[in-house]
């Protein structure tokens, strides 16, 4: 079996290029063997959905290597996932209780979506047990305190995201506000990038907790600002700016927030490296940052092409 040092792993993650999936990058053997080794005990994974749109689950289904089918069927013990599991009703809620009791300290909790805290959490009820509603807030507290580690999958679970944006009517917070003293890994971005999830799990199984930045994001997936590796960077340096959507050039004047967004979108691309926002002419919204969307909007900034320009109010 091929082994890979931690240093090599990080290096590979950092120098990846568009279109290269995690499997091809790390070597399919390595990824598969990681899971296979772990699969002897099939690490239990519990995936909860709170104030979510399921976009992070859908994004996970778009992962290429390892194929998500193997992840679901062969490699992990995905015991609870509302979108995928066969169990329903109290049978499902009982599963959560069983994991918290019997597998204490030995399972990974994944949280998708924010945690509403207003009204004692009643804005998100995830099920009913013995006639009592179970809130997402309670479930995260109970399971998060019992889990080995909690992965906040996506922007809402990491930082509150859009449901947590002003005026935040349901008091949504990210997971680490509920589990302040527990290990939490934030995978910001809206939606979560599937390679970030799988890469994090591979790292956890091989080397333990990955190195995190001050926002608890794995450094390997959240390197410098997007602007640094932007394919439109030469345009910026040369002062070539797109003045309208569809034009060539740096998108800064259209509202691009790549200067402040730390993520590896430019390296990994999205959807198996097919495309990504800036490549497609869409300004970066900085959806990786904790202040998205309140302080990264307006997303489109200025338009200098306008039929009735005098009426258009410049956005800043």
């Amino acid at each position: 079996m091929r082994t890979l040092s931690r240093r090599e792993f990080l290096k590979l993650c950092a120098v990846s290029t568009a279109g290269v999936s995690l499997g091809s990058l790390l070597g399919w053997d390595f990824v598969f063997n990681t899971f296979a080794r772990a699969a002897e005990g099939r690490p239990t994974v519990v995936w909860l959905q709170g104030s979510a749109c399921s976009g992070c689950s859908v994004s996970l289904l778009n992962s290429v290597d390892p194929p998500v089918a193997d992840l679901i069927l062969k490699l992990t013990g995905l015991k609870y996932h509302p979108l995928l599991m066969a169990a329903a009703g109290e049978m499902g809620v009982d599963l959560l209780e069983e994991v918290a009791r019997k597998e204490r300290g030995n399972f990974v909790l994944v949280v998708e979506g924010g945690i509403p805290t207003a009204e004692r959490g009643r804005y998100c009820l995830i099920g009913e047990q013995h006639g009592q509603a179970v809130t997402m807030l309670d479930a995260v507290r109970i399971l998060g305190n019992a889990a080995l580690v909690t992965v906040a999958a996506g922007q809402c679970a990491s930082f509150g995201g859009i449901p947590g944006a002003a005026p935040n009517p349901t008091g949504v917070v990210g997971v680490d506000r509920v589990l302040a003293d527990r290990p939490v890994i934030n995978l910001g971005l809206c939606p979560m990038h599937p390679d970030h999830f799988l890469g994090t799990v591979v790292h956890l199984l091989n080397y333990g907790l990955p190195e995190l930045d001050e926002l608890k994001r794995p450094k390997m997936f959240y390197p410098g600002p997007i602007h640094e590796n932007c394919p439109r960077r030469p345009d910026f340096e040369a002062g070539r700016f797109a003045s309208s959507i569809g034009e060539e050039g740096c998108l800064a004047r259209l509202g691009c927030k790549g200067f402040i967004a730390r993520a590896d979108c430019g390296n990994q691309g999205w959807n198996h490296g097919v495309n990504w926002c800036i490549k497609a002419g869409a300004p970066c919204m900085a959806c990786s940052e904790p202040y998205f969307p309140d302080h990264t909007g307006p997303f489109y900034g200025l338009f200098t092409v306008s039929r009735t320009r005098s009426e258009a109010r410049p956005s800043s």
Partner: protein, 482 residues
């Protein structure tokens, strides 16, 4: 005596849903459907730059994100007085069409399929409700095997959509006035490279599997019938001109009520709240004029979902509605059997097949180098509406701009129609009605109930509920979304 059966959570759907049924003498005699999550997205949209709506409103749902994005940009186009150029219109159709095909494949294999086929005896396929799983062994194995293949095909549908959409879900290339991505010979060919495999899967795997399941579960052409009232806004504009009646679309707008076909006038839609957690004072209004006050403790209420009605009558939305009002041969030919669990699955597969073929033809109409975006300016004041179809049915967004900001934003979504609670007259919502009469062999293992529910492909994050949070003054319309 009736036995009360509660299913909470209903899983393998998007979002948070609780279902309660009364079972008597082996049949469902009454049903209640309730949504149990609230986020408040419409309130969050207020005061922001209207151009941002296309991105924020997509996050109403990660499964129908493209459709919410399209509906949002349609409402922005209308408020800003801009129409996308031909390439922009076609790119929107391509990206949205692929998401609907993706959604149907995912629904059959990964969400609803396990109602009929037994998965392997390993998590997440166990535990499960036991019941009359009766696919012949070979068919069962095939469907489970296709569960895996379908994962790859649905992923490729998203990759194809990302060629023009930048990324999926949450398509960043969608914007008022068109799309940000350009059209080149290279990206057309890259896009088309994906289609062959998807067409082949839909025609040679998905459709035959649906038919094999339908054969083994033929009684499900008589189960889950409901009101037989159907409503569709239509989708996929085929013209660059204005089309206020929605007739120049690949799926045309239309309605089928009490056995008669008819046209759709959104002004005849009202929303009741007698059994929703809102004050009764705001009931019976058109969504645009809705005044709604939260009443979380309201005793007789059991859902955050409101009860939309067309001319006072409950209507089902979704692929069955689209295929039926467009009188597509395969579905029209089923006659009364179309209004059923299997009718819905079949309509979904037939629609996927029609759509994926058309997507290839639309791609041929793209002109490399021509613009995909029409410039516009954000008006100081304006109102706009976007009406189209999500995979799960009729979807509408309404926006009002004041002083260059979003003053009001509303979305009325498919699952609000289908999973509405009772209305002011006490009429059940479409799914509640469809559940009545469902045979239940063992109330502790209510798999039959889940078959009916999932045939509607519920999407609860979308199921929008409006709450007035500020002053209750008649002219204030401040909303939240559930």
């Amino acid at each position: 005596m009736a036995q009360r059966v509660v299913i909470d959570p209903v899983t393998r759907i998007e979002g948070h849903l609780k279902i309660e049924v009364e079972v008597e003498a082996g049949k469902v005699v009454d049903a209640r459907a309730g949504g149990t999550m609230f986020r408040g997205l419409e309130l969050i949209l207020r005061g922001r730059d209207p151009r941002d709506a296309a991105q924020l409103a997509q996050r109403i749902c990660g499964v129908c994100s493209v459709e919410h994005g399209i509906t949002s940009v349609l409402s922005l186009d209308s408020a800003f007085g801009v129409r996308p150029p031909r390439n922009g219109r076609i790119l929107r159709n391509l990206v949205c069409g692929l998401n609907i095909v993706m959604s149907h494949i995912t629904h059959f294999y990964h969400l609803a399929g396990l109602d009929f086929a037994r998965g392997p005896d390993t998590p997440p396929f166990v535990p499960r409700y036991e019941g009359d799983y009766r696919l012949p062994q070979a068919v069962n194995e095939r469907v489970v095997q296709h569960y895996v293949e379908a994962l790859a095909v649905r992923r490729k549908a998203h990759e194809a959509a990302a060629v023009f959409g930048a990324k999926v879900p949450h398509v960043s290339a969608l914007t008022a006035g068109g799309m940000t991505e350009n059209v080149s010979a290279e990206n057309i060919s890259r896009f088309k490279g994906y289609l062959g495999e998807i067409v082949s899967f839909v025609d040679n795997v998905y459709l035959p599997d649906v038919m094999a399941v339908a054969k083994a579960y033929e009684d499900y052409f008589q189960i889950g019938t409901g009101y037989k009232n159907l409503l569709a806004y239509g989708a996929f504009p085929l013209t660059d001109e204005e089309d206020p009646q929605g007739q120049k679309q690949f799926f045309r707008r239309g309605r089928y009520t009490g056995g008669q076909f008819g046209s759709v006038d959104p002004e005849r839609i009202t929303e009741d709240v007698r059994f929703s957690w809102f004050e009764d004072a705001g009931t019976g209004r058109n969504p645009v004029e809705g005044v709604t006050l939260p009443a979380p403790g309201k005793g007789k209420a059991y859902s955050w979902i409101k009860a939309p009605r067309y001319e006072g009558r409950p209507h089902e939305v979704g692929p069955l509605a689209r295929m039926w009002v467009n009188r597509v041969g395969e579905i029209a030919g089923l006659g009364e059997k179309a209004f059923s669990v299997m009718g819905r699955h079949y309509a979904r597969a037939v629609e996927a097949s029609l759509l994926i073929r058309e997507i290839g033809k639309w791609a041929d109409e793209l002109v490399p180098g021509e613009p995909t975006f029409s410039p516009y300016s954000v008006p100081k004041e304006g109102k706009g509406v976007g009406l189209t179809e999500a995979a799960r049915g009729a979807l509408g967004h309404w926006i009002e701009v004041r002083d260059y900001r979003i003053h009001n934003y509303q979305a009325v979504v498919p699952t609000t129609w289908n999973f509405s609670p009772r209305d002011d007259k006490g009429l059940r919502g479409p799914v509640e009605e469809a559940l009545v009469g469902t045979p239940v062999k063992d109330p502790t293992q209510p798999v039959e109930v889940l078959r009916v529910i999932r045939s509607f492909d519920p999407c609860l994050a979308c199921a929008v509920h409006l709450l007035e949070t500020g002053s209750s003054g008649r002219h204030r319309r401040e909303f939240q979304v559930l």
